[in-house]
């Protein structure tokens, strides 16, 4: 189970440009509680979550949707892949991230020195 509630709180805070302290005050809770929810150390009740989200000036809406089995299918597909294939794919993903970050650092450095940046 991922930290769904904490991520929603963080998303609401980001959308409204609020600090944890601001949102805590508006949502009638403590900054420590907001930090714990966001970090996944604690889970709010649905009522508490709705109150915090309302504090950000947003509404929490819950709806039922038809189940999508795509993720389960993918999980089965991935489970059937040889371990070395999965490892190679994860390693390539890490390399792609590192490469993108290296490009970005280089671009920033060039911008700081007033050099023309290639797209």
């Amino acid at each position: 189970m991922t930290n769904w509630a904490g991520n929603l709180i963080r998303m609401a805070r980001h959308e409204k440009g609020l600090s944890q302290r601001d949102l805590a005050r508006r949502g009638r809770t403590s900054q420590a509680a907001i930090a714990a929810y966001e970090a996944g150390r604690r889970s709010p009740t649905l009522e508490t979550l709705a109150r915090i989200i309302r504090g950000a000036g947003l509404d929490l809406r819950i709806r039922l949707e038809k189940q999508d089995d795509h993720d389960q299918w993918l999980a089965r597909y991935e489970a059937g892949l040889p371990a070395e294939v999965v490892e190679a794919w994860r390693r390539r993903d890490r390399e792609l991230v590192a490469e993108a970050r290296s490009d970005s650092t280089e671009r920033s450095a060039r911008n700081r020195h007033g050099l023309k940046t290639t797209p």
Binding site: T2, W4, Y77, D93, A100
Partner: protein, 148 residues
């Protein structure tokens, strides 16, 4: 255009991702013909909800008529064609902020991290919410960097 977790990853956001690749194609007829040809080259089969085994279908530009999302298996792995990602109006909308990343010697158009975030927010599934902290942190860092 590559969208989703892979697009974010190509821009330096370390998202965990599934084996599938999500793309949003331009929806003009010529591009749909190219897309159909590419899918035929990849021996794509359609994956449909509720069925474990993908099915062979005729792949031409008419295949995509009225479609929002189609999921395929190919010789290189799963490929999702998403004409209108959640929270967006499709290719023309995403193109406004898209970037080109060169990897493996190929220029790859990718949706911006801001648009990926917008789409994941709109999708609202648990797995999308799980990606938001990394995406939001990246956008924060990008904003701070542009202010320096």
């Amino acid at each position: 255009m590559v969208i989703g977790a892979l697009a974010a990853l190509l821009q330096g956001v370390p998202l965990p991702r599934n084996a599938d690749i999500d793309v949003t194609p331009a929806s003009d007829v010529e591009n749909k013909k190219r897309l159909a040809r590419a899918l035929r080259d990849l021996e794509a089969k359609l994956r449909t909800p509720g069925l474990d085994e993908p099915i062979e279908i005729t792949l031409d530009e008419r295949t995509f008529a009225g479609m929002v999302t189609m999921t395929f298996t190919t010789t290189f792995g799963p490929l999702d064609i998403c004409f209108v990602p959640d929270g967006t109006e499709g290719y023309e909308d995403l193109k406004l902020n898209a970037l080109t990343v060169t990897r493996f010697g190929v220029k790859i158009p990718v949706a911006s991290v801001a648009d990926i975030t917008r789409s994941k927010r709109a999708a609202g599934r648990e797995k999308d919410a799980a990606h938001l902290p990394e995406l939001l942190a990246f956008l924060d860092e990008e904003r701070k960097s542009s202010e320096r």
